[in-house]
């Protein structure tokens, strides 16, 4: 089993692991002790995914440039 800390996972990684994990649990080929561990990790993964999905905030900014032509900041996009 991957031991990547859940907090460091991308949404996609967490999603894939959650999917695999639940499929494993459903298959009941896992030892009971392991299935409880999987269940708990599943809860973590679910929470992580949920947080990633919640942070769906739109923020559009336009890059501004300094005299040297390099980006030096952001400004609200005038859509």
């Amino acid at each position: 089993m991957t031991q990547t800390p859940v907090a460091e996972m991308s949404f996609e990684q967490a999603m894939q692991e959650l999917e695999t994990l639940v499929t494993q649990l459903e298959g009941s080929q896992v030892a009971l002790d392991d299935s409880i561990k999987l269940y708990e990790r599943g809860a973590e993964l679910k929470k992580h995914c949920e947080e990633k999905l919640k942070s769906a905030e739109e923020k559009v900014a336009k890059i501004t440039f300094g005299a040297d032509g390099k980006p030096n900041g952001l400004t609200a996009a005038d859509e």
Partner: protein
Amino acid sequence: MSDLIDAPSEGQNAPEFSVSEISGAVKRMIEGEFSHVRIRAEVGRVSRPRSGHVYLDLKDDRAVLAGVMWKGVVAKLRTQPEEGMEVVATGKLTTFPGQSKYQMVIENIAPAGVGALMAMLEKRKQMLAGEGIFDQDRKQPIPYLPEVIGVVTSPSGAVIRDILHRLRDRFPRKVLIWPVAVQGEKCAPEVTAAIEGFNAMSVGGAIPRPDLIIVARGGGSLEDLWGFNEESVVRAAAASDIPLISAVGHETDTTLIDFASDLRAPTPTAAAEHAVPVRADLLGWLGNIETRRLRSLQSGLDNRRQRLRDLSRALPNPAELVGIQGQRLDVLAGRLPRALQSVAQNKRTRLSQTSAGLRPQILNQQIVLKKQSIDAVSRRFAQGAKTQVSQIRSRLDGLDRLRETLGYTATLKRGYAVVRDDAGALVSNAKTAGAAAGLDIQFADGHVQLGAANNHKPKPKKNPPPKPSGGQGSLF
């Protein structure tokens, strides 16, 4: 013409020019005559010194015209001239008196029609493909859910609106717009700078570094989209560490950046669709998987409980198991004594069979034989021994007789005597006999003591009383 003075040669009275004067005249004439010309030609050798000016040859199959473009003109060109390109150059002719040359100062140069542009595009594509820039194994995967999306496009117009709308519909994200000119001579350098600029941002910097770049532009003519064919743009897109989606023009337009990008989207809207998943779908999936997860543990327990029940049902009655074994034990225990008896019986039979062959006669026979041979040997031994003993005895007798003959006792019998002093020492001459205190004379049949000292000796006592005999005794 004149008959007064002989004319040395015709035309000698023509005005004389200095080289500078004639060069100047030619220059004025050429510049006046060709102050604005359009020339269709193939580009020959192109040289780009550090000054920024561009020197090139314009040629056809028979003639070559040297051309120069000043730095300011070069910067404004939409397409840079390349060797072999079919172009139309606009400008004026001028001379370069210092080298007796004339040349064209080009003010604008453009590919001669779409065909020439296409040909050039194809050539450039071949070159870049040859470098491996378009190779599939260079492509990076597009992140499933990028946090920050950098969009390189015009800040106004339908393209950015379409992208933002579609992103909002699917999964609102942080978007950084890097405004660029999407056509004209500024397009390529600005797009290049934008791609490189996003890549140069650090992850924890003031401006968040995007994890996906979209380079987008709406549809347009080949010339409009030309900036996205420029080598610098293509190379920047290929070198981008951040995965890059290109969406330039409509579905039918293909620019070189599309070959170098990690993913080519047919339209800006499609680029947004590739960039993010649909949030609602994911929420649905998450709800679903959560239900499955919750249910799976319960159903796992239920399954186990059920299996336990099934297994325990299938487990046979222990008493039954023991009973059957007990029965087997009884049967075997019953057979055990009989088995022992029959084993003993078998052994007994074998023993008697074997012992039947074991008879005393066999031994006796041997004994008789051996006894006979022993008898024979002992008989021979007795015989031999007897013979041996009688032989040894007769030899011993012989030797004894010889001993007697040699010893002095036999001599005594013939009338000799042995004289000893009172100490028992042999006296063999008269001088010694005179000196002795006493004398003992031995004859064959006894001793005679002479002198005072005869009492000392035990030996004469033992002997019978001395009996004078022989000549020796008569001496005293």
